[in-house]
């Protein structure tokens, strides 16, 4: 088996992501889903658009998944992130992992989610019920602080 990652404009089907992991040596399987909430920071939301830099996003996902694979000792790991227009309740990200023992499944999935929030070149445009929309304030990606520009 090998780590699988992808970026997609199609609806994510949780059971298909779950089916990508699991092994006879694994006693723990974990599926995490990020879903679109009907409000954010107190503002009612009726949908959102994820813009992605798909080629880089796949390469960053691959990097994160490889790190998690090494760190938590499993190659049964699948990660997918959606882009395009999403409705309330739609799955924006799915992480599936299986490991011999439960600690690594919890920590591995959590690691993938935290790193993806920090590094994945994807941007969220929220549509509010009052007709407005806005880019969600994001996280400064890792990089070398550049000091004053020359």
């Amino acid at each position: 088996m090998a780590v699988s990652v992808w970026i997609t404009a199609e609806r994510i089907v949780p059971s298909r992501v779950l089916d990508m992991v699991g092994d006879e040596a694994d006693g723990a399987v974990l599926l995490f889903l990020g879903t679109v909430r009907n409000r954010n920071d107190g503002r009612p939301v009726d949908g959102l658009t994820y813009q992605a830099y798909p080629e880089m996003a796949e390469s960053v996902l691959e990097e994160i998944a490889t790190e998690a694979s090494t760190r938590f000792g499993t190659d049964r790991l699948a990660v997918v992130h959606r882009h395009g227009d999403l409705e309330i309740g739609d799955v924006s990200v799915a992480v599936a992992i299986s490991t011999p023992h439960r600690a690594e499944a919890f920590e591995g999935a959590r690691y993938v989610m935290e790193e993806l929030k920090r590094r994945l070149p994807v941007w969220k445009h929220e549509h509010y019920t009052d007709g407005r929309s806005d880019w969600v304030a994001g996280t400064e990606p890792p990089g070398v602080p550049r000091g004053a520009a020359r």
Partner: protein, 81 residues
């Protein structure tokens, strides 16, 4: 050399374009790219000097030299998940 720089999210809205051309000296680095964009003024005048830049799909250190065939992109704060 002229470097086509890909834009996303708020940067794309600012520029009303999905890329911007930046004129750089041969051997210029990621830092030089951000400085050159700021020097263009207009919507770019206030671009933070710490703005992340990706070169060939990886976050690039400030001192990385940019080549003519590299795929360069400006990466605003990310919001995946």
């Amino acid at each position: 050399m002229r470097v086509r720089t890909l834009l996303f999210a708020s940067h794309r809205d600012l520029a009303r374009a999905d890329s911007v051309e930046v004129e750089l000296d041969r051997g210029a680095t990621v830092s030089d790219l951000v400085a050159a964009l700021r020097a263009q003024g207009g919507v770019w005048a206030d671009l933070p000097v710490t703005t992340a830049v990706a070169v060939n799909h990886r976050y690039a250190p400030a001192d990385l030299p940019i080549g003519e065939d590299d795929e360069v992109a400006l990466i605003p704060p990310v919001a995946g998940g």
